[in-house]
Symmetry: C2
Subunit: 344 residues, 2 copies
C-alpha cells in the first residue's frame, strides 16, 4: 500500500514537470511554436480554420471534431523498439526468480542474458508470448500500479531519459491547439490500452476513455474476500492495428474521424477511412527523417515500417510531416531544460 502511494507521488512529480513544459510552450502567441513556418504548418492551421469557421462551407460542429493519433512513432519515440517491449523485457527480469523455467526457455533466456539475437530469432509470436507472460495473471489495478512504477523509473537506452519524456513537443502543441479549437483528441494505437492509460492524461492531456488500443481478455471475478476485480488472463482479445484501427474507432467512438495522424503502415487503413469521409478531412503522417535529433527510418525499418502508407500519402496528397524540416524542436527537454533528466 505504502509502495503504491510513494509511486503515485513520484509519477505525479514527473508528470507535473512534463505538463509544465507543455503548457509553457502554449503561452506565446503562436500555438505551434515548435513547428517551423512552411507548407506543413500552414496546412494544419488552415484545416482547423476551415472546420471551425461557423459561416464557412466546411464547418464541423464541435461534437463531430474527433481527431485521433497513433502513439508509437507519432506521439512518442518507437526506436530502437516499441517501449512496451522494453517494459515487457524489464518485467521478465523482475519476474525471473518466480520463473526458473525461463533460464532455459527462449526468448526469456535471451532476454535475461541480453542476447538480443536470440530474442529476435523468435519473431513476433515469441514477443507476443513475452507480453502475455508479463501482462497477465493479475488484476487490472495491479497491472496499472506496475506500469506507473515503470514509466516513472525506466530510462531509454539512447537518450537516458524516462520514456514519457520522449514525447514530441510539436505533437503536444498540436494536441493542445486542437482541444483549444473544440476537438476531442484520441489515441488509436496498436499498443496495449492498459499500458497507455495510466499516464496518457498527465503526459498528453488524453483521458483513459479517449485511449483505444490492443487489449487482452479480462474476466470479472470475486476475490477470496468477495471483492470484485477484473483479472487479466493472458489471452489476446483485439489487435488495434492496420485494418483493426478503423474497426476499433467504429467500436469505441462510433463516428468517423475528421483528422487522423499516424506514422507507419499500421496506420494506413485508419488514414484511408478518415480521408474517405465527406467534408473536410486531414490525414497526416509523421516521417522520421532526423537521425541526429531522433531517428531516420521508413520503408525498411523493422519497427514502424512506413512503405505502403507513404506511397498512398503521396498519391492522395495526404499531409507528410518531415521531422527534420518541419519541427523546430523535437522533445520538450530541448526547449526547456528541466531537472527531470538529471535527477537520479
Amino acid at each position: 500500500m505504502v509502495r503504491i502511494a510513494v509511486t503515485k507521488s513520484a509519477a505525479a512529480l514527473l508528470f507535473s514537470l512534463l505538463a509544465a513544459s507543455g503548457e509553457a510552450a502554449q503561452s506565446s502567441g503562436d500555438a505551434l511554436p515548435s513547428w517551423n513556418a512552411g507548407a506543413t504548418k500552414t496546412a494544419i492551421t488552415q484545416f482547423v480554420t476551415r472546420v471551425t469557421r461557423e459561416d464557412g462551407p466546411d464547418f464541423v460542429p464541435p461534437a463531430q471534431r474527433i481527431a485521433a493519433f497513433d502513439n508509437d512513432g507519432t506521439l512518442w519515440v518507437e526506436q530502437p523498439f516499441y517501449f512496451q517491449l522494453a517494459f515487457a523485457f524489464d518485467r521478465v527480469r523482475a519476474m525471473a526468480t518466480q520463473h526458473p523455467e525461463w533460464q532455459t526457455k527462449q526468448p526469456f533466456k535471451g532476454l535475461l542474458e541480453f542476447d538480443m539475437d536470440a530474442v529476435a530469432a523468435v519473431g513476433e509470436n515469441g514477443l507476443l508470448e513475452v507480453i502475455a507472460a508479463t501482462h497477465a495473471g493479475m488484476s487490472t489495478e495491479q497491472f496499472e500500479a506496475i506500469v506507473r512504477d515503470w514509466i516513472t523509473e525506466a530510462r531509454h537506452p539512447r537518450f537516458a531519459r524516462r520514456y514519457a519524456e520522449l514525447v514530441y513537443q510539436p505533437m503536444l502543441e498540436l494536441l493542445g491547439y486542437l482541444r483549444a479549437n473544440g476537438f476531442k483528441t484520441y489515441i488509436v494505437s496498436g499498443g496495449g490500452v492498459e499500458f497507455m492509460r495510466p499516464w496518457t492524461e498527465a503526459v498528453y492531456g488524453i483521458p483513459p476513455e479517449h485511449v483505444i488500443g490492443s487489449s487482452g481478455v479480462t474476466q470479472f471475478r470475486l476475490d477470496a474476500e468477495g471483492r470484485p476485480e477484473l483479472a487479466k488472463v493472458g489471452k489476446v482479445e483485439f489487435i488495434n492495428d492496420g485494418p483493426g484501427k478503423p474497426v476499433g474507432i467504429n467500436r469505441f467512438i462510433g463516428r468517423r474521424l475528421i483528422l487522423a495522424f499516424g506514422n507507419s503502415d499500421g496506420d494506413l487503413q485508419m488514414l484511408q477511412w478518415t480521408a474517405a469521409g465527406e467534408g473536410a478531412r486531414l490525414a497526416a503522417l509523421v516521417h522520421h527523417t532526423d537521425a541526429a535529433r531522433e531517428f531516420a527510418y521508413d520503408r525498411r525499418s523493422r519497427v514502424g515500417k512506413l512503405d505502403k502508407a507513404l506511397d498512398e500519402a503521396v498519391a492522395r496528397n495526404w499531409l507528410i510531416v518531415d521531422m527534420k524540416r518541419d519541427w523546430r524542436s523535437v522533445f520538450p527537454f530541448e526547449r526547456q531544460p528541466s531537472t527531470v533528466g538529471s535527477s537520479p
Copy 2:
C-alpha cells in the same frame, strides 16, 4: 440518397420534439420534477452534493465523475420484449422476399406468420440467429440508415407510440441533472451498440462515443470503387451483459464508475464493481412496480429478470427506485402532450 435525406429530417423532427419536452422539464427550479419527494430522490441529490462539494471529504474531480446507465428497462421500456427484437422482427418481414427459405424455416416462419409460440420455442439462440441474419451483410453506414428509419416509424404494440418516446422522463431529468453537475453520462447496455448510437444523442443527450453495448464483428474492406467501408459480417464479437458489463466498462472507459443505474440481473456485476470502489459510490436499480402506467415485473420475468440483483441491492443497501412510488410521471408525453403521438 434522397431516401436517407428525408429519413434524417423526419428523425430530426421526432428527436427535436422529444428533446424539447425534456428541456421544458428542466426549466423549473427543481432539476428532478418528475421524481416524487422522498428518500429515493433525497438519496440521489445528496450523493451528487457529496461528490461535487469541493471542500467536502467525498469530492470527486469532474474528470472522474463517470455515471453509467443500462438502457433496456432503465432508460426506456423493455416490455413485452426488448425493442431491438421488435426491430429484428420488422427486418425479417421487410427482408422476407429476398429470403424465400424463411417461409419454411423457424423462427423466421413463425415471425412471418405472427406465431409467437413458434418463435419463443427456438429460445435465445434462435433469437440471436434472427439478429445475426437481419443485422449483417451490409456496411455500418447502411445499417445506421435502417435503424434511423425504424426508430422514426415503428410503434410499440401497447402504447402505440414510437419507441423513442417510451423513455423515462425521470431518467431524462436525472441524466441532465448529472451532466449539469459535471458528470459524464454513459450507456452500458446488453443491446447492440450500433442499434443505439443512431438516436441516443438526440433522445438522451448521450453521444455515440459514450454508448457501450454488445457488438458484432466488423471488417474493414475496400468496395468495388476502392472506397473503404466497414462490413458487418454477422458474427457476435462481445456480449456486454452480466460480467461483460464491468469488462466493457474497463475496456471502453478505463476507470470505475462512481454511479451505476440498472434494473435487472444483467446489471448485477456492473453494480458490484461500482459499489466496491473507494469513496462515494451510488449503485441503483429501477424496480418496475407500476402495471398501470408501465409494467410490473421482477423475479419471474423472462425479459429484464430482477432476482439476484434485488437480493443484493437489499443486502448491500443499494438504492432501489420504486417506479410507482418514486416517479410522479413516467413518460415525457404524460407531462407535455405533444403532437408526436397523434401524427400519422
